[in-house]
């Protein structure tokens, strides 16, 4: 298990999976700051259905790791109230597909209480949700509708793609004075381990990360799609001599437009890879922004390599829905060869 239940002060680095890093981030911040409380369905004794809160209940007790009734508007609404009272609530939505009952509380209130009150009140709160497909889950368990939240000013939206970032971004989110929707790519919850410092550190919510430098094309992605994108990049380098730059956005709102545009100006070509349906997805925002800021550098249409405009299918064919390395490669090649 993660370091959450027994962090080792002598070992500054340990190998963690992404979900363990989330748990460790919670543990680290709860240890430091009494006002942080975790609430949600099955987060307590059960340690969360993905074990993202494993060990926290034992460590911090039932007043800080709280099993709630099954009601998402109740969870997010009461978390807003907790935040208003001076606490730092971390509300877990069991899956992103079950966040919608809380949509009104998120967009009408969490996002707007600061501006409504002319700065008098604020809602420092993190809403965590596992998201995305690829694990052969039942219907509604594979949503990736980050674009909904990016379109609501006042919310921040974050999605890590590595264990290191998961912990650092989560700690930064917990310390952020604004409400953060923290989307965890559950496809890679346990896909690999990475060295993660045991203590506290922040990965700022302002910066995208260039995961791979390249000169021929900039590919923007985040969360679970970062891996197949990097694989596609390697394949393309090997097989076609195409030099792909991969930018992991990490924070989806506000977007790090500088990094996005800078990379594009270098390469002149771009693709966006995401799981969500194409129409109205974040890919549209990114390509629209790029052509606004750097049209004169643009040498090819910006390609969106995304989920199709259909509901996420049942799992037998979900691998055809999600952008696979093969689709990513093809899309990149098409753009490079334009």
């Amino acid at each position: 298990m993660s370091s959450a239940t027994a962090p080792d002060a002598d070992t500054p680095i340990e190998k963690l999976t992404l979900v363990e890093a989330v748990c460790d981030g919670l543990y680290t911040e709860m240890s430091r700051d009494d006002s942080v409380v975790v609430l949600g369905e099955d987060v307590g004794k059960n340690g969360g259905v993905f074990r993202a809160t494993a060990g926290l209940y034992e460590e911090f007790g039932d007043e800080r790791v709280i099993d709630t009734p099954l009601a998402e508007a109740g969870i997010v609404g009461s978390a807003i109230g907790l935040a208003l009272s001076g606490m730092r609530p971390v509300a877990e939505m069991q899956f992103m597909g079950f966040i919608y009952p809380a949509f009104d509380q998120l967009v009408s209130h969490a996002a707007r209480l600061r501006s409504r009150s002319h700065g008098q009140y604020s809602v420092p709160m993190v809403v965590r949700a596992p998201y995305g497909g690829g694990i052969h889950a039942p219907e509604h368990h594979s949503e990736s509708k980050e674009a909904f939240f990016v379109h609501e000013p006042g919310l921040k939206v974050v999605s890590p793609s590595t264990p290191y970032d998961a912990k650092g971004l989560l700690i930064a989110s917990l310390r952020d004075p604004d409400p953060v929707i923290f989307l965890e790519p559950k496809l890679i919850y346990r896909a690999f381990k990475q060295a993660v410092p045991t203590g506290e550190y922040e990965v700022p919510l302002s910066d995208a990360s260039v995961r791979r430098e390249g000169s021929d094309i900039s590919v923007y992605t985040w969360g679970a799609m970062t891996r197949p994108t990097l694989i596609a990049a390697d394949n393309l380098a090997d097989e076609h001599g195409v030099d792909v730059e991969v930018v992991d956005l990490r924070t989806l709102s506000p977007l790090d437009i500088d990094t996005i545009v800078e990379s594009f100006k270098k390469t002149g070509r771009a693709a966006v890879v995401h799981e969500a349906p194409k129409t109205g997805g974040l890919g549209a925002e990114i390509s629209s922004t790029i052509q606004e800021e750097a049209l004169l550098h643009q040498e090819a249409p910006i390609k969106r390599i995304t989920g199709f405009d259909t509901p996420m299918p049942l799992h037998a064919i979900e691998d055809f829905y999600l952008p696979q390395a093969v689709r990513i490669q093809e899309g990149i090649l098409e753009t490079v060869q334009f």
């Binding site: 009461s78 208003l84 009272s85 606490m87 009104d104 509380q105 409504r116 700065g119 500088d258």
Partner: protein, 382 residues
């Protein structure tokens, strides 16, 4: 839970009571009802409560007239509900929090919000919602019932922080009881036993929908049973009954006796004497006879008669009161009408720190205003 225990009817640590007859202290003529005890309030407080109720009534008249003159936007009148609003806020301690809807102007005022601040949002100026530190009042909630889980959460936060003497009072309407947020918030309140008091101002109407079409439940108070909390029905046109019931509920919220649950759902049985808002015409859907019947229990008259009978009020005092009220409201209107909103406020307080893109958008707007003048932005339709 063990099989036998569950099958034998779940045990309840806290027997829940629903008063069927609404609590009443004064009759319609301002006499103390038989068996009723007066709440423990000083003469001064009683008189000041009356003055605030009268102020609320007058504020309503002035606001409606301001709206007619186009000096403020749509206004939700409180006539008929002022007694309940003022009395519930009198029951609050300073550290207690108030979650109001768009109708609880007087409740906010009594708990510390300036009258001018109430008027500013009606002029489209949001700094009216930025109450001073120490005034524990949330901006009004417009999306129906959304305040309920939030009020619950704040009360929960107080309890978790060992400040259970900071109670939260949350207003809502009869229509609000149909929303999922009402249900989720009250269920949480019951489960986590938080220091919160929910006041349902059952004014018999949700715009055009009468209470009996809102729910087939006999009373609203009885819905408390679903959450294992106490439900109380009270005559909402009787300010003293409202004070008493709210005060008891707040005391219980802060310091429950053994076996008592902290939260309470109060059903204030009252009536919306006027229109839903200044944009509404109740004659389209309800009979004025019905309103008249309720008006016979008018909280201002009733409480006034009581004070006269108690020798706490006379015509001279009342005239002084009226003059003070008039001046206070006029000053507030003047202050509110002088307030302005800077278009740059658009970009402020969206986040703690302004993102780059917002900074650019602000610059873009600034440049346009500079170039064309603010007049160029008048009315999208031109």
């Amino acid at each position: 839970m063990s099989a036998q225990k569950e099958l034998d009817q779940q045990d309840t640590s806290s027997p829940v009571t629903i008063a069927e007859q609404p609590v009443q202290v004064l009759d319609a003529d301002g006499n103390v009802c038989p068996n009723a005890t007066l709440p423990d309030l000083s003469d001064e407080t009683l008189v000041s409560m009356y003055e605030d109720i009268k102020l609320a009534r007058r504020f309503d008249e002035r606001a409606i007239s301001l709206q007619r003159q186009g000096r403020i936007a749509t206004y939700a009148p409180m006539t008929g509900q002022e007694g309940a609003q003022v009395a519930t806020s009198y029951a609050l301690d300073e550290q207690d929090w108030l979650f109001p809807t768009y109708r609880e102007h007087a409740a906010k005022y009594v708990h510390g919000v300036q009258l001018a601040s109430l008027l500013k949002p009606l002029r489209g100026i949001r700094d009216g919602y930025a109450v001073p530190d120490g005034v524990n009042v949330m901006p009004e909630y417009i999306p129906i019932a959304t305040q309920v889980p939030q009020a619950m959460g704040m009360a929960w936060g107080h309890k978790l922080q060992g400040k259970a003497d900071h109670a939260v009072l949350c207003h809502l309407g009869d229509g609000a009881t149909s929303e999922g947020d009402f249900h989720e918030g009250l269920n949480f309140a019951g489960v986590f036993d938080v220091p919160a008091v929910f006041v349902c101002n059952n004014n018999q109407w949700a715009i055009s929908v009468p209470r009996e079409r809102q729910t087939a439940s006999e009373t609203i108070a009885q819905k408390a049973q679903s959450y294992g909390i106490e439900g109380v029905r009270v005559d909402g046109l009787d300010p003293l009954a409202m004070y008493q019931v709210t005060n008891e509920a707040l005391n219980k919220a802060k310091a429950p006796a053994a076996g008592e649950r902290r939260p309470t759902l109060i059903e204030a049985v009252l009536y919306r004497f006027g229109a839903h808002t200044t944009a509404d015409d109740p004659s389209a859907y309800r009979d004025e006879d019905e309103a008249n019947e309720w008006k016979a229990k008018d909280p201002v008259d009733r409480f006034g008669k009581f004070l006269y009978k108690q020798g706490l009020l006379d015509e001279r005092l009342e005239a002084e009161m009226d003059a003070r009220i008039e001046a206070t409201i006029s000053d507030a209107i003047e202050a509110a009408e002088q307030a302005e909103s800077d278009p740059n406020q658009l970009f402020e307080y969206v986040y703690d720190e302004m993102p780059d893109r917002l900074r650019e958008q602000r610059a873009e707007l600034d440049a346009l205003r500079e170039k064309y003048g603010d007049g160029a932005f008048d009315g999208v339709l031109e």
